[in-house]
Amino acid sequence: MIKMTMLDRLLLLITGILAAYQVAVGIDSFSTLPIVAYSIAFGVLLVAGLLLIILGFEVLEAPIVVIVSTIIPLALSLGLVWQHLIAWRVIYLVFAIIGFLAIVITRTFSVCNKIPTIVLAIVHGVAGIVIFLLPVTLAARGDMRPWFALVGVGGALIGIGGLLLSFLKAGKPIFSREMILKILPGLLLVMTICFVIGFMFGPLQ
């Protein structure tokens, strides 16, 4: 396992501080469900960052990582849909709950065949597409300011990070373990910066 460097810890600390800011201040003006959803997403990011700093990359060996790395995109996408796609609110809420439960079940009980991987790909894929396309579309149509597209960029990055980690955990790594762990702290920081700036400057005044 790769040893965590001081730079990695610093990047993760800044990520944690930004996520903490987002939970405490950055989502205050939203309605209840988006606040809950974004608090879960950024809260998981904050706690995961702290645990990575404390325990090192070895913490990624834990089976729960696949589940945790699903919570962030699912919660973020749910918050976005609830705020901007009013007609799809309930449908997406149901998808998020079922998707999360499906991943928990397929990762908790041994299911022989490709079902766990398929479930993972579907849930991550849909959530990733929502987080990427919805903010970019809203910014392009002028419903939100151009800055909001950064939320989409963050979404693309979290999709990449989530898939890399999930497939690594599933035993089918897309890149080598060393490469993934090398880029992970930087990826998490850039992603979080994109989210914070996007949510801060994205809404129309």
């Binding site: 903490a20 939970v23 405490a24 809260g43 645990l51 404390i54």
Partner: protein, 287 residues
Amino acid sequence: MRFLTAKLRLYWPLIKSLQTGLLVATGLAGYMSARCPIFHLGTLAGLFFSLLASISGSTILNMWWDRDIDARMGRTHNRPLAADKIQPAEALRLGLALSVLGVGLAASMNAFYGLIIFAGLFFDVVVYTIWLKRRTCWSIVWGGISGGMPILAGRVLGVGGLDWIGVLLMVGILFWIPTHILTFNMRYFDDYQAAGIPTFASTYGFGFTRATIAISSILAALAMGLSAWGIGMAWGFLRLLGVLSFGLLLLAFAIMFRPSERVNFGLFKYASIYMLAAMLLVMIEVM
């Protein structure tokens, strides 16, 4: 000058700077939680120096008393007193001087505040260290109470008297202490055994100790959350405190159901970060 620097370098490990710093931070947070005019430089400086001197003094007195067991433990045998780098009489004089200075300064600011600072010092040095630490594992309750005194004292100085929020803040620290100390006791189990110090792990076993940690973590998180609500902390900051508390509970349950040395150490570290973050939240929120 060189003599002073050399002395300071020698004395520095005696005060356990991280632990003392965290306790001073709890006292400052307790004071700021009163939402009094916190930028009164004289009071703030008096609070800081009285806490720093009294906490440092009690820590040095503890180390002076425990120098024999420190010498028997691998983790602590290099401490200045245990390693004979400082004469015990010199450490005793320094500890007493700092304690008197801290309590005296506190009492001159506010008699009740001074009394609580003195109580914290008394519970820590006399009741916890000298009387109970070598006799019973339940001594940590008194260690916890003394650890909660700085935040209570700060609150009392801020509001001018005792209130339920101050008591609850103290209770939060009291329940946080087992999370911190018991994980440490398990990590250095052999050291404590060699020194003949009774711990929860050696008296009741690891399972019971882990359950105690989980329960005290829940109670600490509840007490901190309730007192934060009582202070009138904004919803955003309460949300953040909730998120941080969730991390604490997650690790506490992890060591109960999937115990490992790594998770144990993680909880020990996270508990410190949790308390520091909670105190910073209280301070930042009222600014």
